[in-house]
């Protein structure tokens, strides 16, 4: 983990965060799985991630991701970045999660609780 560079950590964090919030409402359909895989592939391509990180990301789906994991990884990534970059990453993550949580139009308590906990932990 120490060898993974900042950019790769951002990629991994985004994948993890997306997966966690996609699953948190208890529904994780094949379409969501296919989308996330394609999305992660897109991130990997954009970031030029080395093979070992691709393999790591490829296994994320099988990992049991918790909110604590996501928060800890987010803090780790933010600490690696200069202030302005960290702020942008944080804003982007916030908006990213906000869209995912609000996407289905349902006021899902689990999603809302997880999102609030994420905000509480990071702001």
């Amino acid at each position: 983990m120490e060898d993974i560079r900042t950019l790769e950590k951002v990629i991994r964090l985004v994948a993890k965060t997306g997966l966690f919030f996609a699953k948190v409402d208890g529904e994780y359909s094949d379409r969501e799985r296919a989308f996330l895989q394609a999305y992660i592939d897109q991130l990997v391509n954009a970031g030029g991630t080395p093979e070992e990180v691709q393999a790591l990301i490829g296994n994320i789906e099988e990992q049991n991701i918790t909110l604590d994991n996501v928060v800890a990884d987010t803090r780790e990534v933010l600490q690696c970045l200069p202030d302005n970059d960290a702020r942008i990453v944080k804003i982007t993550l916030y908006s990213y999660i906000s869209d995912i949580v609000a996407a289905d139009g349902d006021d899902c308590p689990a999603e809302k609780a997880a999102f609030e906990a994420w905000c509480e932990a990071l702001y």
Binding site: N45, P50, L93, Y96, D99
Partner: protein, 188 residues
């Protein structure tokens, strides 16, 4: 312009390509409709004021943070003491845009990394065309990529400026979130 229209337009325009300003603008637009409430609630519970009004066109990091309730731990006074108020026009913050000059300064990203997006496929074909992909070539190709990536990460973490790599990632995050929106919107 609705969210879906902005997605389509963005896709038609090739994802924008304007770098950080595009990201900020896109986030700002989406922030108007979908963000803010959760942080506002937390902020209210903490007994702090939030600045949720948003004037499209005056897009800055501070505006986005304020609009989303970010930076609330120090309250609005932090912005005021720094000379920023939301009513001040965009022209008073030119240095912010100069700090993130967009992709014109990173054209090499697109010239240096065209292979990156193509080479992951080569792992799938060695058995099928072993004679066309000799071992020597596959082992030498990753080397320059790694060097280029080091340079990119250095830009990202070095001077507080967004490197091309991180900007690309953030743009993908933005588009991915929009795609997720569509996926979930039409799933039910």
């Amino acid at each position: 312009m609705g969210l879906l229209e902005s997605i389509i337009r963005s896709a038609q325009e090739g994802g924008g390509g304007g770098g950080l300003e595009d990201i900020l603008e896109q986030l700002g637009r989406r922030g108007q409709s979908t963000t803010g409430s959760t942080l506002d609630e937390i902020q209210r519970r903490r007994g702090q004021q939030s600045g949720t009004s948003y004037d499209e066109g005056d897009i800055s990091i501070e505006d986005l943070e304020r609009q989303m309730g970010i930076g609330k731990k120090n309250g609005n006074t932090e912005y005021n003491t720094g000379g920023y108020t939301q009513s001040q026009p965009y022209q008073q913050y030119p240095q912010e845009y100069q700090q993130y000059p967009q992709q014109q300064q990173y054209p090499q990203e697109y010239q240096q990394y065209p292979q990156q997006q193509q080479y992951p496929q080569q792992q799938q074909y060695p058995q099928q065309y072993p004679q066309q992909y000799p071992q020597q070539e596959t082992t030498t190709i990753p080397m320059p990529q790694e060097e280029e990536q080091e340079q990119e990460v250095g830009q990202t973490t070095g001077g507080g400026m967004f490197g091309g790599g991180l900007t690309s990632i953030l743009k993908v995050i933005g588009m991915g979130a929009l795609a997720m929106y569509i996926l979930k919107k039409f799933r039910k």
